[in-house]
């Protein structure tokens, strides 16, 4: 076997060697640092990416051969690396400014209904807003709204929250033979749709929920059951004739409230799972439990922004004197 020569890429000053054909985004993921946020790209979905523009970076040197910088910021998810390429992500004020702009664009017509949205807590738009959003909106016009649509017995589409990443469209394209799911209309009135609200009957249709970065496609069997951060993720598997049967069960107490695919640290599914596993297999007895997993919840909620760091107050000697001093109650006063 002839040796493939790797390409050397520098991202925010750190070098990584990757195979030719790798995109800048994937190179950053391999490096494990300075990873641009990606709202529309999805490794498993052919053709995805390039649309949301959150992953834009600056290429300050195109390659060793042609070290000229690229004239515009580029979508890192769709730009292949060249040997000797130098990329600025977090270190480029221009990128940060542009990303702030993209975040604002994604939010001006978003309902910001996180308090009643099932996706809250594992929503990539929430994370993005937290990291790159402004404190206050500059948009003082009525926001775009759509009616909710049921697409089939299990999935609800709430277009009002959609950021038009097209992931569900690519998922449907990949799992169905005929086109049943796509985009209607144009511009800011574009709308994800199935043919005349026709159900996606495919056995793998539930995966559109998992690929949706926001709360536009939600699981009707889980709707309003619980905030996700009150549920405990557990890896489990079963012998499934249709899919790998490897899932995450989300428990509240002894009840499985929700079944999803397993996601990697970038929030992408490891395997597409079938609708039977996802919607119809919700008893613990149906599963071989692998154990509680420390799912890398990318969300702001897991970053100790909203939760307490330690389970118990850490000043025991004061607490033991029952003065109340040093306890959370006290500190909160």
């Amino acid at each position: 076997m002839s040796e493939i020569s790797l390409f050397k890429v520098t991202i925010d000053g750190e070098e990584v060697e990757v195979a030719p054909g790798t995109t800048i985004l994937q190179a950053a993921r391999q490096l494990g640092k300075h990873v641009p946020p990606a709202m529309c790209y999805y490794t498993k979905l052919q053709g995805s990416g390039g649309k949301c523009r959150t992953c834009i970076v600056k290429v300050t040197a195109g390659s060793t051969k042609d070290p000229r910088p690229m004239p515009k910021l580029v979508a890192s998810c769709r730009t292949p690396v060249m040997d000797g390429m130098v990329v600025a992500n977090e270190t480029s004020p221009e990128v940060i400014e542009a990303r702030k702009g993209v975040t604002e664009f994604l939010l001006i017509n978003h309902p910001l209904d996180c308090p009643i949205c099932d996706q809250a807590g594992e929503c990539h738009l929430q994370d993005l807003g937290y990291e790159h959003g402004a404190q206050k909106t500059r948009y003082d016009f009525e926001r775009r709204t759509f009616d909710k649509i049921d697409i089939g017995p299990y999935v609800q589409l709430h277009m009002t929250r959609c950021i038009l990443c097209y992931r569900c469209v690519y998922t449907a394209d990949q799992i169905t033979d005929k086109r049943v799911h796509g985009v209607l209309d144009r511009g800011d009135h574009s709308e994800i749709s199935t043919y005349i609200e026709k159900a996606i009957t495919n056995d793998f249709s539930g995966n559109v929920i998992d690929v949706c970065p926001v709360g536009a496609l939600t699981d009707k069997t889980f709707r309003f059951k619980s905030r996700v951060w009150f549920t405990k993720p557990v890896y489990a598997h079963r012998n499934c004739p249709k899919c790998t049967g490897k899932v995450t069960l989300w428990y509240k107490g002894d009840d499985v409230l929700r079944v999803t695919g397993r996601k990697d640290k970038w929030g992408e599914l490891e395997d597409f799972i079938c609708n039977t596993c996802r919607f119809e297999t919700k008893k613990t007895a149906d599963w071989v439990i692998e154990g509680v997993v420390n799912v890398d919840r990318h969300s702001v909620i897991s970053q100790n922004k909203y939760t307490l760091k330690a389970e118990k107050p850490v000043v025991p000697e004061l607490a033991s004197k029952h003065t109340g001093e040093g306890t959370w109650d006290h500190q909160l006063k």
């Binding site: 990416g49 390039g50 649309k51 949301c52 523009r53 959150t54 834009i56 515009k72 910021l73 979508a75 769709r78 730009t79 292949p80 400014e97 542009a98 702009g101 993209v102 604002e104 664009f105 994604l106 001006i108 017509n109 500059r138 948009y139 016009f141 950021i163 038009l164 097209y166 796509g182 985009v183 209309d185 144009r186 511009g187 800011d188 009135h189 574009s190």
Partner: protein
């Protein structure tokens, strides 16, 4: 400047749309010459030598574009003519195709031969159904004469030329959206790379060229690239169709030799014939609605005080600070009674309506700009709106999949850049500004 005409010289001849009349004027000579004496590579060479630049807006050298096409044996190559012409202010292609359809058909045959394309398409804007009919008739005539179809002029070269039409979306003029639409899909621009020269129509190497670019090829092949390069000025070689509209005495399509002074173009009776009703000129959009608007004092002279010429280089002299672009040649003149705010709102409304909605900055930003401009125009503007517009435009520009985002941002940014006082006046004096016909006057910019 000479008064040479290339594309339009025979327009006015009765029945020029008839192939016999067209041939009697020397038509189809380029097909004979290309096939019988030159061969494909020499045709490409002539086009390179001519210095012809794409007439669709970006001005990319046509010969160079052709030489990028992937020539891997076994891969079909396609030539696609972009006749989607939908840029506000631009109406040259439809005129040429309706008046002189055979020059485009001849250009398609000669160019397809040069590129080794056996199947080619002319994609016509959906509203122009009458043009589709004219072109189809011309194709049928050419086929009957043996210029199209199998074994053209006994050379062994086959060409199947098709006319198709869009459904009325400006975005389908963007070359990769056009290709998607040709494939029967939603007209969304593709993410590049790959470029069409590598993977275009049906994933095969494809060249997309504007009508006017292709129509210039017959003359170049017959007379030689060097002859063409002698016309025009500097890197702006040859002639260009300019569709002139707005507040001028003689709106219409003019074929100019590149390099005519803008002042002459506006005021000479040969072209626009001056500003109508003896009014003063306030502003010009020189290359279709996408290019930056310039106030009168900057359109006839550059910032250095030199006469500005109708050429790629001269119009863009000074960058966006004081210059603009030749674009697609849609020349719109505004007299002293024109309201820049209203015009900017109107353009913004167009881009908002035409955004395909794939990428966030354009999808959301175009609507936002339109709404803010609507407010200012209707007396509800806030002082902070002006900077907001500039900022939103800046955040769209350069951050989108296709240049429609830039095209939406530039008119807004340039209007504020050059006419900021007019925007401020609207915001500070809402009741005066919303009176019918009320217009802000700044004598300094009028000419």
């Amino acid at each position: 400047m000479g008064k040479i005409k290339i594309l339009t010289k025979d327009i006015g001849t009765p029945n020029l749309q008839n192939i016999d009349v067209y041939i009697s004027k020397g038509g189809y000579a380029s097909v004979e010459k290309a096939i019988k004496t030159l061969g494909p590579d020499a045709v490409v060479e002539e086009v390179k030598k001519s210095g012809l630049r794409g007439r669709g807006g970006a001005g990319f050298p046509t010969g160079m574009k052709w030489s990028f096409i992937d020539k891997t044996p076994g891969k079909s190559r396609y030539l696609v003519c972009n006749a989607d012409e939908s840029e506000p202010g631009t109406f040259k292609d439809r005129y040429l195709m309706a008046e002189n359809p055979h020059v485009l058909i001849e250009g398609m045959i000669t160019s397809s031969f040069a590129l080794g394309a056996n199947r080619s398409y002319i994609y016509v804007r959906g509203e122009l159904i009458y043009v589709v009919r004219i072109l189809q008739k011309a194709i049928d005539e050419a086929k009957a004469k043996g210029y199209l179809g199998k074994n053209i002029l006994g050379s062994g070269f086959d060409l199947d030329l098709n006319v198709t039409c869009g459904a009325g979306a400006y975005i389908c003029g963007e070359e990769t959206a056009l290709i998607e639409s040709l494939e029967g899909k939603r007209g969304n621009p593709r993410i590049k790379p790959p470029f069409p020269a590598i993977a275009g129509l049906w994933g095969m190497p494809t060249v997309v060229n504007n009508v006017e670019s292709i129509a210039a090829v017959p003359w170049i092949v017959v007379n030689g690239g060097e002859e063409y390069a002698k016309l025009g000025i500097g890197k702006s070689t040859g002639t260009k169709l300019i569709s002139a509209g707005g507040h001028i005495n003689k709106p219409g399509v003019y074929e100019i030799e590149l390099g005519v002074p803008v002042e002459e173009f506006i005021y000479s009776d040969e072209y626009c014939g001056g500003i109508w009703k003896n009014r003063k000129l306030k502003a010009v959009v020189a290359g279709g609605s996408s290019v930056p608007i310039l106030p009168a004092n900057l359109i006839t002279k550059t910032a250095n005080g030199e006469a500005r010429l109708m050429s790629y280089e001269s119009l863009s002299d000074g960058g966006f600070a004081t210059g603009t672009m030749l674009g697609s040649g849609g020349f719109i003149a505004y007299d002293e009674t024109a309201c820049i705010v209203k015009n900017t709102w109107n353009f913004a409304r167009f881009y908002h309506h035409e955004s395909c909605g794939q990428c966030s900055p354009c999808r959301e930003g175009t609507g936002w700009m339109e709404k803010v401009l609507h407010n200012i125009e209707h007396g509800h503007g806030k002082p902070s709106d002006i900077d907001l517009l500039v900022d939103v435009a800046k955040k769209i520009e350069g951050n989108t999949i296709c240049p429609l985002g830039d095209a939406a941002a530039w008119p807004v940014a340039s209007a504020v850049r050059h006419f900021r006082d007019e925007f401020e006046w609207h915001i500070k004096n809402p009741s005066a500004a919303t009176q019918p016909g009320a217009v802000f006057r700044n004598e300094a910019v009028l000419a």
